[in-house]
Symmetry: C2
DNA sequence: TTGAAAGCGATACCAT
DNA sequence: ATGGTATCGCTTTCAA
């Protein structure tokens, strides 16, 4: 059973490619193709399991029913979950997802955007490095459908789906304050990512509103945070800083930090309470279970796909769809109780 | 700056598409294109940032430099890591990865394989549901390059990259035996997956070799394991079964099981020791840290890509490349000490 | 050295 | 109602 082409169906049925194409694309009635002819074609195609070459189809139609997803790293559980939810939602609409990781590298991201465009994806979902302003602006200029997720460019008007970074960290910090903690540390990354900036601001705002004058902020290098965590933690737990709580700005920082606290025999939460922005699957099993802000991954994916597909449908790139989602707050033992 | 096509370059430079195409594909010398002409073309293309339409290119060449990856679920950390390593390695060879999740559904998987073929991927990497024998056989018959990972079909001769499921669980069980445990339970899924069968066999073999007559096996339903875990654990810890150790066959079963053990106030490892096949990122932080068999995700991805690309290069589907990798064994407190 | 033209496999406009 | 044919953008054979 060799590969069957549209041409073959037409020949074998004594019809033209046009007719067959119409029928197979559900445009039979629209083009007044005889119902018998239609059935004949459908039956034949079905029986021989005909499947159109999507390359040819895409080239001809200028549409591929594919969306490109660019994320920093598919191995990160957060992005993996996002990818999963995007794929699921996209599939419901008959779209395929092509993904690529930028590894937080702006140059890579630029190449990926280009590559996706050359592969004629119909639209892009990007969790950007936030260092490619010109490429994003170019997409807008090209009127190419896309939407940013997780990270956005504050200076450019674009569609995006984010979480309320500021509000959720503020909420988490307030929670610690309400539990009587007064010397709260914040461990994050030295980064220009707006999301991380907002998390820091949320932390600071909570302190200010509660008249806490002293903050304990550690911002680690994005490439060197593994090594720097040791020092950061030890500085935060040593007199005169000795914090009584730490807010971590990402799940992997939390994991590293908790490891380090344990190495230092710090008791959680009695000596230092912990709150994590985002979580890992086993955070509820950790000793003690870690209070975490939970990202609404499914909602992020769903919203992104829905907005993007609407743009694709309208063959344009809108920039006025902005979604900011609330995070969940899973209170566990790591932040102690009153 | 509107979209630039090959035709435009040719026209603007007063050359033919052929010449330009040759040069841009690095076949200038081979086709004896004047070096000046070559430079002119290269320069022009570069300056105007020309990028070929990959759809047209693929259609014309019958090659897309794309590999399809079909996995059960991209949201699962294990597959996410695999995907990451495959993507990384593929990228090094100039290949893009298209991925799709089958959700452990044979019908979905069949559709995905079809869909990938229609999209003209050059080859497939599949972590199969192991319920699509006929589709796999079809690929072989089509001489289409592909390789199985993580799961394989024992009855079909194919390329694959697996881990030593039997040996690693045997090793882990022996470890528990060496620590004096004698009533060791095994919690897995009711499944036809060869990998899971092998893990069970490894467990049983360790018992047999050590003259342990009684095994405690719980196989939960693949769709209902969340609910069934409660019962399984309670049965294993109740007289007269009261096990002193449990081996879990997947990371998520471990997480669930440990939660359940904690709910029942079982002390780990003093009352029940734990070993997990595969791990979650925070297993080292759990109370107690969980001894785990570590899957060599990077090696799996690397091997799969390398073997596949060789087949793609040779335009054929080989079936004699079989790689079985050893798992790591990270001994932590959950299995106790001598 | 270079160019013309025939594909690749579909879609869709314009006839009939 | 159906068919002929140009077209999508590129590769590649063959001729010049």
């Amino acid at each position: 059973m060799k590969k069957l082409y549209l041409k073959d169906i037409a020949q074998n049925l004594g019809l033209s490619k046009t007719t067959v194409s119409f029928v197979l694309n559900g445009k039979g009635d629209e083009n007044k193709i005889n119902i018998n002819t239609q059935n004949k074609v459908l039956e034949y195609a079905n029986k021989h399991n005909y499947k159109p070459n999507q390359l040819a189809r895409g080239l001809s139609r200028g549409k591929t029913e594919t969306i490109g997803l660019i994320i920093p790293n598919i191995s990160d559980t957060f992005y993996a979950k996002i990818a999963g939810s995007i794929e699921k939602r996209a599939k419901e609409f008959g779209y395929t997802v092509v993904f690529s990781s930028s590894n937080e590298n702006a140059a890579d991201e630029e190449k990926l955007i280009q590559s996706m465009l050359n592969r004629q994806v119909d639209g892009l979902i990007i969790a950007s490095t936030q260092q490619n302003q010109k490429d994003i602006e170019l997409l807008i200029k090209m009127n190419f459908p896309f939407i940013l997720i997780d990270r956005h460019y504050p200076e450019i008007e674009t569609n995006y789906v984010l979480v309320d970074n500021f509000g959720s960290v503020k909420k988490a910090t307030e929670h610690l304050l309400n539990l009587g903690r007064r010397k709260i540390g914040f461990i994050s990354l030295k980064s220009d990512l707006e999301a991380l900036k907002q998390r820091l601001l949320g932390y600071q705002e909570a302190l200010v509103e509660n008249n806490i004058k002293t903050s304990y902020i550690k911002e680690l290098g994005t490439d060197t945070y593994k090594e720097e965590m040791k020092k950061a933690v030890s500085e935060l737990i040593k007199f005169p800083n000795t914090v009584d709580a730490i807010v971590f700005s990402t799940h992997y920082l939390t994991a590293l930090g908790v490891r380090e606290l344990k190495n230092n025999n710090i008791k959680i939460p009695s000596e230092v309470a912990i709150v994590s922005f985002d979580e890992l699957s086993a955070f509820d099993l950790v000793d003690p279970p870690i209070t975490s802000l939970i990202q609404p991954v499914n909602k992020i994916g769903d919203a992104a796909v829905e907005i993007l597909l609407k743009d694709i449908e309208n063959k344009k790139c809108s920039v006025d769809k902005k979604v900011i989602l609330e995070t969940g707050f899973m209170i566990r033992k790591s932040c102690g109780t009153v």
